[in-house]
Amino acid sequence: MSETKGGRRTGGALDRRSLLAGAAGAGGALVAAAARAEEPAIPAELPEWSRYLGPGVDDEPYGKPSKHEAHVVRRNVEWLTASTQSSINFTPLPWLNGIITPNGVFFERHHGGRAEIDPSAHRLLIHGLVEKPLVYTVEDLKRLPCEDRIWFLECAANGGMEWRGAQLNGCQFVRGMVGCAQWTGVRLKTLLDRSGLKPSAKWVLAEGADASALTRSFPIEKALDDAFVAYAQNGEALRPGQGYPIRLILPGWEANMSVKWLRRIEVGDAPWYTRWETSKYTDLLPSGKAYKFSWVQEANSVITWPAPEHKIDGPGEYMIRGLAWSGRGRIVRVDLTFDGGKNWVTAPLQEPILPKALTRFYYPWRWDGSSMIMASRAIDETGYVQPTIVQLRNARGRNSIYHNNSIVTWLVNSSGEVENVQVA
């Protein structure tokens, strides 16, 4: 009868509440109409959660968000792919805060569905041009020197549907192939050192244990720099959709290379040119040539409030919220425009500002109710400036699919509705 009931009978409370709810039913519409006319600053009725007991501590052993937050979920775009097993969903950026993406809404890209792995049957093999090949269990890996590191992961195709024009009307769909987490695990260098690299070691192949056995090649320099084998994300074991029990992380590089369900690391002297570094994840140019091994995710940013998912509720004071990130290091500056790029102001960055991690910017703002075109522009510590879509198209045409890190532009109309647009 009542939607908000706790669901547990506690003494006579539930019976009594049901009676009250029934009695209120008839007059409900009348009360609501009056409330619209002039709603008191504090709701007149004592809400039922202030009178009756809520569920006990044994109600929800693994907690979930409030049911009023049911819209904060990953979404996919059905028409993008032939099957959901080889597809992607999007992080609900417009409703998230801070720089850490909650595990339950971290975007997922699978190539053979989400592998559901029994960790006791999982192994990691290190072999190839090493002195001593070794096979690790997950428990073995947890005995080795570990670190906690905060990094973003971003799909190379983030923004990919916008190369030819503004297409998807949502912050979630335009930039939601990104998430940021605190990862716990072992440096890949630790594992390679334990096996001992042969002098001819130049390239590394990582392979997943899923039904696509996804493989990517990367140079030994990255393997010895910050490549990481993670077993935990934001304090708990990796979720199956993120590679449970272990995944590779190549910080700052396209997330396809951060191979999930990692089962094998082979060291070699040349790249393998796997399907995922030839047929896919290469950037086709108008000349018919394509960039290969385009690994780094260049500086990017997006305004997460306002956004097409949010309507601005009348003129007044608001906080503009947004995210910026760069695969080359730290974000040093974010600029905002309210006139489509004619003039820019710099927005304050929120601590912590970490390399290869999402960085927050907030900007206090007063909306006067007029139509305007707003956008953010990120600059990283290498001096790289997030380009416009026109600049990117001048460099790469319109068929790249991948690595569209261009400025995202929102058109706000006088009703406060927000639309994804492109400007020239």
């Binding site: 093999l125 070794l134 040539k289 600049q391």
Partner: protein, 213 residues
């Protein structure tokens, strides 16, 4: 103090090579046998490293393809629905709507073998024999004339096949956009909205999403 020459050497190199565990200790990691490694080591490189014994021709491949692949990829590799088109598209890479297929875009024939062996058929991975994988590879390449119909594809011949787009890839030159301090004031004279996502109308609808929050 140090019992092991190896450890001293490892220390000198700044590395910590895994040592045999002390008597009675549980080691971290096990040394695999060659057979252990062979069970998982299925990757293939453009120079042919990793290709297994076996062989196949286009004629043999056609039969396997119709039975195991055509359901999604079509009788001729032309694709069913949104599943990937495998052949055709020659010369299309400079078009406004390029058709990126195995034969028009993939630079190495070895990658075709590697991918089919590890991931196809979609949903029944690693169920094909090596002969079948060689044969399907031959069928696809022959269907666009990259190899003759009677060409025998095996570990020796596969790396010698030159794909039409072998020279189609260049090393990543990024950053490939203008450098320098960005403009802050009076940057453009006129702003033109060139695209509206609302007009395209392909955004997934979602009743659970509140209009305002």
């Amino acid at each position: 103090m140090f019992r092991s020459r190896e450890f001293l050497l490892a220390l000198a190199l700044g590395a910590a090579l895994a040592l045999p565990a002390e008597a009675g200790e549980k080691p971290i990691g096990r040394v695999p046998t060659a057979e252990d490694i062979a069970r998982w080591d299925i990757d293939v490189r453009p120079d042919g490293l990793g290709l297994p014994p076996g062989r196949g021709t286009a004629k043999e491949g056609e039969e396997v393809f119709q039975a195991r692949c055509a359901q999604c990829h079509g009788e001729f590799g032309e694709a069913v629905g949104r599943w990937p088109q495998l052949v055709g598209g020659q010369g299309s890479l400079t078009w406004d709507d390029p058709i990126k297929t195995v034969t028009s875009y993939w630079p190495y024939a070895t990658t075709v073998f590697d991918y089919i062996k590890r991931a196809m058929p979609f949903g029944d991975a690693q169920s094909l024999t090596d002969d079948e994988v060689y044969a399907i590879t031959a069928f696809l390449l022959a269907s666009d004339g990259i190899i003759p119909e009677d060409f025998v594809v095996d570990a020796k011949t596969l790396p010698t096949i030159r794909m039409p787009n072998a020279d189609g890839f260049i090393d990543d030159p990024r950053p490939d956009v203008p450098k320098g301090e960005p403009c802050m004031k009076d940057c453009v004279a006129e702003v033109v909205v060139t695209g509206h996502a609302r007009k395209i109308g392909v955004t997934p609808e979602d009743k659970a999403r509140p209009a305002t929050d």
